[in-house]
Amino acid sequence: MSGTHAHTAAFVRTSEIPPSLPPQNEGGVGRWMRENLFSGPINSILTLIALFFVIRLLIFVVPWIYSGVWTADSLSGCRAVLEGARGACFSVLTDRWHQLLFGSAYPHDATFLSFMTGVPVEDLRFTSGVRENTNFFQEFFFGYWRPVLAFILLFVAIAPILYQDLPRKMMIFTGLYPFVAFWFVWGGSIWLPITLLIGLGLAYMLYSNLAKQSFFMGVLAFLGVVIILFLNPITMVFGLLDFLRDLIAAMGWERGDNSMMLADRFQGAASIFPLNAHVVEFLSSIIPIELQSVASRDIGGFMLNMILGTVCVSLSLPLGIALALGRQSNLPVIKWVCVVFIEFIRGVPLITLLFVANVVLAYFLPPGTNFDLILRVIIMITLFAAAYIAEVIRGGLAALPRGQYEAADSLGLDYAQSMRLIILPQALKISIPGIVNVAVGLFKDTTLVSIISMYDLIGLIRGPVLASTDWNGVYWELFSFAALLFFVICYGISQYSQWLERKLQTGHR
């Protein structure tokens, strides 16, 4: 080509001219600042005011953090080190982090810690001994390996749900995770979660066989197997009868007589239930695999917030979908049950539900009843969140054009298929921001359990830590730490949801 032009043009450029730099004040930082910070007199003034406050804040906060004391053993110790200068007393975190993260009395595994560090186990019985003989990482990863491992595995378990590209076989672990995590956190015999898993598997198989003929029969069979295996049908029935009789007596129709408690009379027969307790006992006597068992009351700190947050979000999502679909149902009974449930729960503050879980239920349950407080709270928070999620999803369902429903019908899909294949994928996609909003709010709301005297992160700070004579008066450091932990989790959730929205964006808008 260039050859043909060689005699007609004096010079032919064969390569592109490199773009020259923009003029000095039309590029780089200068232009960005002019466009974003000083684009007009009002913006310039606002920028300067904002800058003034940001700098003042930094001048106030940075030296406070920088000169923080990390190694004192009490607030007065911090003050002695600081000698009147301003500075944070982060020593409370180095002293009490194990309580803030895992609860006031969550036991560390002295045997494993001793095995990994070579320190004699007698020196590691108490936290003070652990602090003298091991470093932070050893205590965190080896002393508290159970909750730490449960936390790490949580990410493995939710990864295939969050990222569709991962191999689907990972879902098997996701299904197993609740049982694994339960065993790690609560300890006890390994046979309890295993029998739970097998029993639930059996119940599900029965359900899926029967549900082909009748959904209702399937559900009944599922519940029947669960009750026979894991609960006590005899005391449940007679306890309920006793309760009803007491109720009638309380209304004045008949004199109540405690010596006639049916549940007591049938105690012998009742002791064969729950069946899985015997199986667990038998298996543990043959192959005893146990972790030190931890009482629910000793589980607390940020771990409690995490447990409540993850369990309640993952349970309330399917329940919320069911409620949202139920509210659109053509069957009046289902529709009105769902409507009443949603409107009732949404009309009641979460605090009230938590008080019901803690206080009011205690009045109705017989004394000595061991109905786990964490379980009660999980049920209440789940119901609360489910009502909100149901409304969010209903919004998503309402946003779908009617044509989508009709298209599903015209393809000959039945109700379940049309929901699963056509309606819900679209409705849920629209609902993502709302669902994430509920999830983040729910996670932060788990701190409300401190009001019913559970030692979650906030309850621990306000209770044991601030009440200790060593740390009474340290507020900013503790609450900043709590804020940081919550921010990390909530920001992570929010970032994931934005990524998911971008990924699912298929150009409808």
Binding site: G239, D264, G463
Partner: protein, 338 residues
């Protein structure tokens, strides 16, 4: 649909255990551990320490009762309660006794159907002022700004006191003790008023506690004590006389250090009766003969418990004051062991 099944399971699952009908003492013995309601955290009075072990003045009473019953001061399940959940926890049977700096009042005793078995701390509302103010009596506080927690009896007591003395004040309403500390230190109010023990504990956390004084006036009665449910007098006796045993032990000079020697037998018949080497007091109350000895060994006598948790050598630094033995001009007084 889903809801009704769920609630049904919930109700039924709760009824699994069946009702207990025996007396509280038998229940506790059968269970092998005492369920004791305590505060979620109050400096000196009750909180778990770094190891998760409960410590404090009220906590020691739970341990003493457990020691009296089982001979083991660790046989206690501590149930933290807030001001809002404490009474329902006791009334519903979730806890066997409540030792949570609770003021003995008419309505709590009569209307809420509880039985206060004694007083382990006589508290009262006091005033704290900066030393620089130069005030030595609450009656000199005419025109002062006062930090006061809203919605409490302290608010009413304060109004009564100032009206009775015909002086004026300006209230600065605050919500929590933490807020009060900050407001007071920032100079938003001249005076901070709440229970005297709380004032002392708050002052102990200040950077310069010496710059603040507690005024001598105590303007209300706040007798704090352990309580049990109405209707089980035998159980109430166990808690009442465990507290009395600790008080009597101090009066008679029985301490955790010398109790082992004294229980070999002494010249003093009341000490002998207390420690179970003479008479059959243990049998009467349904416990071992040496129940009181074990209770004293758990954490010491009343005076030792006081000194260890809230006494003048602790950061809380409370003087005995009203809580001295009656022989030393205080109100702590136990009926005789006879």
């Amino acid at each position: 649909m889903k809801k009704s099944i769920l609630l049904g399971t919930l109700t039924a699952a709760g009824l699994v255990a069946g009702a207990a009908t025996a007396g509280t003492l038998d229940d506790v013995k059968a269970r092998g551990t005492l369920n004791c309601g305590v505060v979620t955290g109050l400096a000196g009075f009750g909180a778990p320490d770094t190891n998760g072990e409960w410590q404090g003045f009220d906590v020691s009473l739970c341990r003493a009762v457990a020691a009296a019953i089982f001979g083991d001061p660790t046989a206690v399940t501590f149930v933290p309660t807030t001001g809002k959940t404490r009474f329902t926890a006791l009334a519903s049977g979730e806890i066997d006794m409540l030792a949570r700096n609770t003021t003995w009042t008419f309505s709590r005793d009569v209307d809420l159907k509880f039985e206060f078995v004694g007083v382990n701390y006589y508290d009262g509302q006091g005033f704290m002022v900066p030393k620089a103010l130069g005030v030595s009596s609450a009656k000199e506080l005419d025109g002062a700004t006062v930090c006061i927690q809203t919605g409490t009896t302290t608010e009413l007591n304060l109004a009564d006191f100032f009206r009775a003395n015909n002086i004026s004040y300006e209230p600065v309403p605050i919500e929590t003790n933490a807020e009060a500390q900050q407001q007071y230190l920032a100079g938003a109010c001249d005076v901070y008023t709440t229970d005297a023990s709380g004032l002392a504990a708050t002052r102990a956390t200040f950077e310069a506690p010496g710059d603040h004084v507690l005024l001598p006036e105590i303007i209300s009665k706040e007798p704090l004590g352990p309580l049990v449910r109405h209707g089980d007098a035998e159980w109430g006796d166990v808690v009442r006389w465990t507290l009395n045993a600790l008080i009597t032990a101090e009066e008679l000079g029985v301490t955790s250090a010398n109790v082992a020697d004294l229980s070999a037998g002494t010249e003093n018949p009341e000490v002998n009766r207390l420690l179970g080497t003479e008479g059959n007091l243990g049998e009467m109350i349904g416990l071992e003969p040496d129940w009181a000895k074990k209770a004293i060994m758990a954490g010491g006598n009343y005076g030792e418990v006081f000194e260890k948790n809230i006494g003048e050598n602790t950061p809380i630094g409370l003087a005995r004051g009203l809580n001295a033995q009656w022989t030393e001009g205080g109100l702590i007084y136990s009926p005789p062991f006879r």
